[in-house]
């Protein structure tokens, strides 16, 4: 079933790139720690879009990309779980979820 795949690789990658940058912007500017974490997830998703795209449209299409994406999703889940737990702990101590308030360490 070798035909042409209808969606151009570049478009998919561009979608990933834009998503990556939006995530980055969010990570840099959002004030709530949760949303910052979420923005970072966007960046990971961008990478996943790349991986799946390449899995289908790369130089040697194969399943590895999808597997990699699966691992990424799992890893992201673990990471965000820890992140959220950390957030709760911080909230308990500092009564805040704002990133700006994390300022115990300076200089």
């Amino acid at each position: 079933m070798s035909g042409t795949f209808p969606i151009p690789t570049g478009s998919l990658l561009a979608l990933g790139a834009i998503l990556f940058c939006i995530g980055l912007y969010g990570a840099l500017t959002k004030r709530n720690l949760i949303i910052v974490l979420v923005s970072i997830e966007l960046m990971l998703n961008a990478a996943n879009i790349n991986l799946v795209t390449f899995s289908r449209l790369g130089v040697a299409p194969n399943i590895s990309g999808q597997v990699f994406a699966l691992f990424t999703i799992t890893v992201a889940a673990a990471e965000i779980a820890v992140g959220l737990a950390l957030l709760l702990a911080i909230f308990r101590v500092r009564r805040t979820t704002e990133v700006q308030d994390l300022d115990v360490h300076k200089h």
Binding site: A27, S55, N62, S64, G65, F68, A89
Partner: protein, 490 residues
């Protein structure tokens, strides 16, 4: 994609340490759950035994021909060198925690978390697959985030953890994004396959190759705290429990360097001469900024953090040399990296340990707490002097030989400016390292002097570190000789 015979793989000779540490981790975890009450320091004992066994296994691997298991885990001499290093630092850190958890109450789960992190680290050192490397890295990282934040009621600890986590996550996103491109232009995640079609990759997609390389370098830069990705370092080190700071500075860094070397070189070997210039840029910036920023620092842990930033810059120097070297020359570069890492590990763990002892005894983390240390405890004073002199690169310590080795590399490979920069910034670092020494030997008015006593474990730890630092400085052949045989076949 070849199917794999799961049964007939050289597990023992490749994954031995990995498996031993994993098993130990589980055992400790389960025992931890089972015996919730009372002093659980003996768990650390078990983990020490486990790590020691793993270390034995890793050393034993040296005598094996390189082997690969499951297309993923390879143990060549190079992998062994890093595994041994990781396990040695794990051993030291565990010793450290033994004392630390005796002195300060922290969540007792750190023991198996450290072990899990070690598993991740070992995977980073031995895997030849991007996915495995990534997962290993994340295993190490996630465990580290938790470990940093382990003093759950201390805002410093939690915030350090949060900052590490946020930046670590961004870093791994960047790394992953880079990896995705590598996969895209090569079609494989396996480093060995990547190595074999590197030329095509670079010739067809030069821009993407460079992009992927830089993204991966930057992503690893977060873990290695290279400038400008280093800014979490002081905060995390400052907030983390002392042994965890040592852990981050040594074990985590060693594993990341191992991964960086293997990953970048396999993936980009063909384009090495075009790409690794950027590592030189990062190394230079890191050395300069790391040392400058440490100059006015008074908080001892933060200073050690910046010191570790600067040291990472030194270790990165050989990477830059890949640009001008032949493939045949690479093993020599790895040797210099690993030698320096060994020396660095001993010196850094030792320094953290003594800083911990002193700051606890004097209830201050300010470097003024060191004043009069020589009167309070000549042994600790002498040991700390050895460590910082080693970090500063004084002869008869491993630090000197390591720097000299890296320097000869830079001259060999026509990047003398990097070598000179290395030593020039080292000279700048004299200022803060020897500033400590000055305080150590500064005399305090008599009457104010209460001796500082370290626990037995701590003395053993410090003793081991002194031994390591000095042995590497006096008889470097101990390590250089095995290194000479190392190289990689996969």
């Amino acid at each position: 994609m070849p199917t794999t015979d799961m049964l007939h793989q050289p597990y023992a000779s490749t994954m031995g340490p990995l498996i031993i540490v994993t098993v130990t981790a589980f055992v400790v975890m389960i025992l931890e759950f089972l015996f919730r009450r009372g002093d659980r320091r003996w768990l650390a004992g078990i983990s020490l035994v486990g790590v020691a066994l793993a270390l034995a296994a890793a050393l034993w691997n040296f005598h094996h021909d390189p082997a690969i298991a499951l297309n993923t885990v390879v143990v060549d001499a190079y992998g062994s060198v890093f595994s041994v290093l990781i396990l040695i630092s794990a051993l030291l850190v565990l010793l450290f925690t033994l004392d630390y958890s005796g002195g300060t109450k922290v969540a007792s789960e750190h023991t198996y978390l450290i072990l899990f992190a070690v598993v991740g680290a070992l995977a980073m050192a031995t895997a030849v697959d991007l996915v495995t490397l990534y997962v290993g890295l994340e295993l190490l990282s996630v465990a580290s985030y938790v470990l940093v934040a382990l003093r759950r009621h201390s805002a410093r600890s939690l915030e350090g953890g949060a900052k590490y986590l946020l930046m670590g996550a961004v870093g791994s996103a960047v790394l992953l994004y880079g990896m995705s491109f590598v996969y895209g232009i090569s079609g494989t995640t396996n480093l060995i396959e990547l190595g074999s079609n590197g030329f095509t990759m670079y010739n067809n997609y030069p821009a993407i190759t460079v992009l992927a390389f830089l993204l991966m370098l930057a992503g690893m830069g977060f873990k290695l705290s290279l400038v400008p990705f280093h800014m979490w370092t002081p905060d995390a080190y400052d907030g983390a429990p002392a042994p965890i700071s040592a852990f981050l500075a040594t074990l985590s860094k060693a594993a990341s360097f191992g991964m960086l070397l293997r990953m970048l070189l396999f993936a980009f070997n063909a384009a090495a001469t075009q790409l690794f210039w950027w590592a030189g840029v990062l190394a230079a910036v890191t050395m300069v900024v790391g040392n400058l920023i440490a100059l006015p620092q008074r908080n001892m842990k933060r200073l050690l953090a910046f010191s570790s930033v600067a040291q990472a810059g030194y270790i990165l120097v050989p990477f830059a040399l890949i640009q001008t070297s032949h493939f045949n020359d690479w093993p020599g570069l790895f040797d210099s990296v690993s030698f320096y890492l060994y020396a660095y590990t001993f010196m850094t763990v030792g320094a953290f340990a003594i800083v911990y002892v002193v700051s606890r005894a004097r209830r201050s983390i300010d470097s003024d707490a060191l004043i009069g240390l020589y009167q309070r405890s000549p042994w600790l004073a002498a040991a700390l002097t050895v460590f910082v002199l080693g970090l500063a690169g004084m002869p008869l310590t491993g630090g000197f030989i390591g720097k000299f080795y890296i320097f000869t590399d830079t001259i060999h490979l026509h990047r003398a400016w990097l070598g000179v920069l290395l030593f020039v910034t080292s000279v700048a670092s004299f200022y803060y390292y020897l500033g400590w020494v000055r305080k150590i030997f500064q005399r305090e008015p008599v009457g104010d002097i209460q001796p500082i006593r370290a626990s037995g474990t701590m003395n053993v730890l410090v003793g081991l570190c002194v031994l390591g630092t000095v042995v590497l400085g006096v008889v470097p052949a101990v390590l250089l000789h095995p290194l000479q045989g190392s190289g990689w076949l996969y």
